[in-house]
Amino acid sequence: MNFIDGIGMISPQQTLVPGRFPDDVVEYTADFLKCIEPVYKTYIDPIPLRRMSRLIRMGISSARMCLADAGIAMPDAIITGTGLGSVEDTEKILSDISKEEKFLNPTPFIQSTYNTISSQIAIHLKCHNYNTTYVHRTFSFESGLIDGMLQLSEGSSTRVLVGGIDEMTLNHLNITRRIGLWKRQPVNNLQLLNSKTPGALAGEGAAFFLISADRSDHSYARLRNVSTLIDIRGSYRRDQAIRNFLLQNQLQPEDIDLLIVGISGDAVFDPVYHQFASDFFPNTPLAWYKHLCGEYHTSTGFALYTAAQILKSQECPEILLLNHKVPSRLKNILIYNQFRNINHSFLLVSSTD
């Protein structure tokens, strides 16, 4: 059994206070949604802090928030997922070497390495346990969860720390806009569905979860299953995959009380979610989250945070709901996210009882 026992969430919303989903939503009109950052010196010593780039700061801080929330000092494993790692550091080096190859400052090079966050957390905690990093687009965080749950099932760990971290920069936004990932103009995040244009609203976030084999009195929810599916050839294997996923977990579509999908305001790919919802969950209340955090490779970290808060509080904030159906019960939540209709992921979260 995998219980979510602690959460640390840095996002474009007011998620720094643990324990509950923010009451008020932050509204933006912007090219991308940027995280509201904590006071870093609360979590990181001032001397190492000075040299750390933004993603590393966000990663370490959210991990520490999560451990504090769970009330534990030393996890049995540290696992991170990041689609892009420290974009800021990578850009610094690329910009330097594209002008002139001269002696570089080694710090951005070191920090550009994807495992920097997981190893920096280990250094801060002096944690010698299992430590790894996944870097597979929208599977990065999911792969981390799959590994973490495997650790628990192997019995080698009872408490694993799993996080998903990604940042956006203006340069990276401009580059990846060329291949159609993002909206061409700044948009209002709360009017996102009115835009009806191709491309998502970009975002970022750092989410850490302490997943425990045992339930505690402050457990948020149970992470029952995570599955990823790649559909490179457009062979519609996803439909079979969701049937199998429900079957494996001995659930019928009616058992899902709330479906949280990765609708991002992208006129090209949002229909994938609507079709999925109407094909498999026509009567299920539908929710979304990317108007709050934006689109990024590890955005399901925000979705899992949302699902865990909903299950713990037994309340679903109205700002999340899409289809005017209000959940009558909050026991099982299914999260479905996809990227370019190629990378599909399912996360099943249930209440602790």
Partner: protein, 399 residues
């Protein structure tokens, strides 16, 4: 009894050969692949020597049978060549009812193209085909697409232990029953990006690297790719593949010491080797050979050497580094060196630690300095340690 993990296929491309057979020939003949930089336009080309795959990108594309379409990074093509060799060796196209995963490792990803085209990325549309190839997942997805491996795919990056962690995850997914077979390994091409990065850290030797030598002065970087096919015993009964060896143990631990330096006593290395040994059920005395991480940096070799002394006491197995042959292939090193270690089991040999002349003062053991034949080789340990102290150790045994 936990499920046995059998190795039933392998593939490799590196500076010492484009296939497993070619690499074996170079190793047995004692011919290293280190030389001048030919494929990268860098100011460092007159200063540094590297283990480069001796083919240009168009030549590699041709070798892989890929039409010269846009969007392929050098890293991806190296990955396709090595993974295809392993795929065909273990006939993964057959028995499609078995669930088969692909776990790949890289850190530089498509940086070789990205660093060439970065200004275009910023200013115009001419290189859009390469924008997607920048990230780590691109090579994995292109391999998955060509080989039609879609039951489970992911990408790992733990710096220089990445490919070892890919193999480790593959073994765990098989043992847990989630997959029947896994193609696991890594790919890494040389780039201006990390040549300059390592150079800035002042850990590159301008001469051939000298692991475990008193006068060692750093790394020769290298490139390449290697993949293993892992199968459960049940799967192997169905496929009928001849097992090459067994993956008997694996261990992952973290130094938690410094972002780019190992601790003086090598606590991460010690814990990784110890975990692998415990899982394998073997005793320390059963290990015949350690293919060391042995980068040739001042720091790594003392730290790893101390860890070996702590774990093995006064019965230290034969130890050598093979990075004098291949260069340090960073994220691919874990799988390239796993295969070089497996070749020791298959051919009953132990590779020499080239370029050695004088023992490190702080260590009490000598590496193997000549090719050993005629000694039984039943169990080998392959070490891979990365920046951030991500240390992984694998143990392979003869069937």
């Amino acid at each position: 009894m936990p499920q046995r993990i059998l190795v039933t296929g392998y593939g490799i491309i590196s500076s010492i050969g484009n296939t497993v057979q070619e690499c074996y020939q170079s190793m047995i003949s004692g011919v290293p692949g280190i030389g001048r930089i030919c494929n990268i336009d860098t100011v460092l080309r007159d200063e540094l020597i590297v283990g480069e795959v001796k083919r240009t990108l168009p030549e590699l594309l041709d070798m892989a049978g890929i039409e010269p379409e846009e969007g392929y990074s050098r890293n991806t093509v190296l990955g396709i060549i090595a993974s295809s060799e392993a795929f065909h060796h273990a006939r993964l196209h057959e028995n499609r009812q078995l669930s088969t995963g692909l776990i790949s490792a890289t850190t530089v990803g498509g940086m070789d193209r990205c660093e060439l085209f970065y200004n275009d990325f910023l200013t115009n549309e001419t290189r859009n085909a390469y924008i997607d190839s920048y990230d780590c997942a691109d090579s994995t997805e292109r391999i998955a697409s060509r080989l039609d491996l879609t039951d489970f795919i992911t990408t790992i990056s733990t710096a220089c232990s990445s490919a070892a962690n890919a193999i480790l995850l593959g073994a765990r997914l098989i043992r847990s029953g989630k997959l029947d077979r896994v193609l696991a390994g890594g790919c890494e091409s040389l780039t201006k990006f990390h040549l300059n990065g390592f150079n800035a850290l002042k850990i590159l030797d301008q001469k051939p690297c000298r692991p475990f030598d008193k006068n060692r002065a750093g790394i020769n970087l290298g490139e390449g790719s290697a993949y293993l096919v892992l199968e459960s015993e049940e799967s192997q009964k169905i496929t009928g593949n001849k097992p090459i060896c067994e993956l008997k143990g694996w261990g992952n631990a973290c130094e938690a010491f410094h972002q780019t330096a190992s601790s003086p006593d090598g606590v991460g290395a010690y814990l990784a080797m110890k975990k692998a040994l415990e899982l394998s059920g073997l005793k320390a005395a059963d290990i015949d050979y350690i293919n060391a991480h042995g980068t040739g940096t001042d720091n790594n070799d003392i730290s790893e050497g101390k860890a070996i002394e702590t774990l093995f006491g006064n019965r230290i197995p034969m130890v050598s580094s093979t990075k004098q042959f291949t260069g340090h292939t960073t994220s691919a090193a874990g799988s390239i060196e796993a295969i070089l270690s497996i070749l020791c089991l298959e051919h009953q040999v132990i590779w020499p630690n080239l370029n050695f002349s004088e023992k490190i003062d702080e260590l009490n053991f000598l590496p193997v300095t000549r090719l050993i034949t005629g000694e039984p080789v039943r169990a080998v340990m392959s070490n891979s340690f990365g920046f951030g102290g991500n240390d992984t150790s694998l143990i392979f045994t003869k069937i």
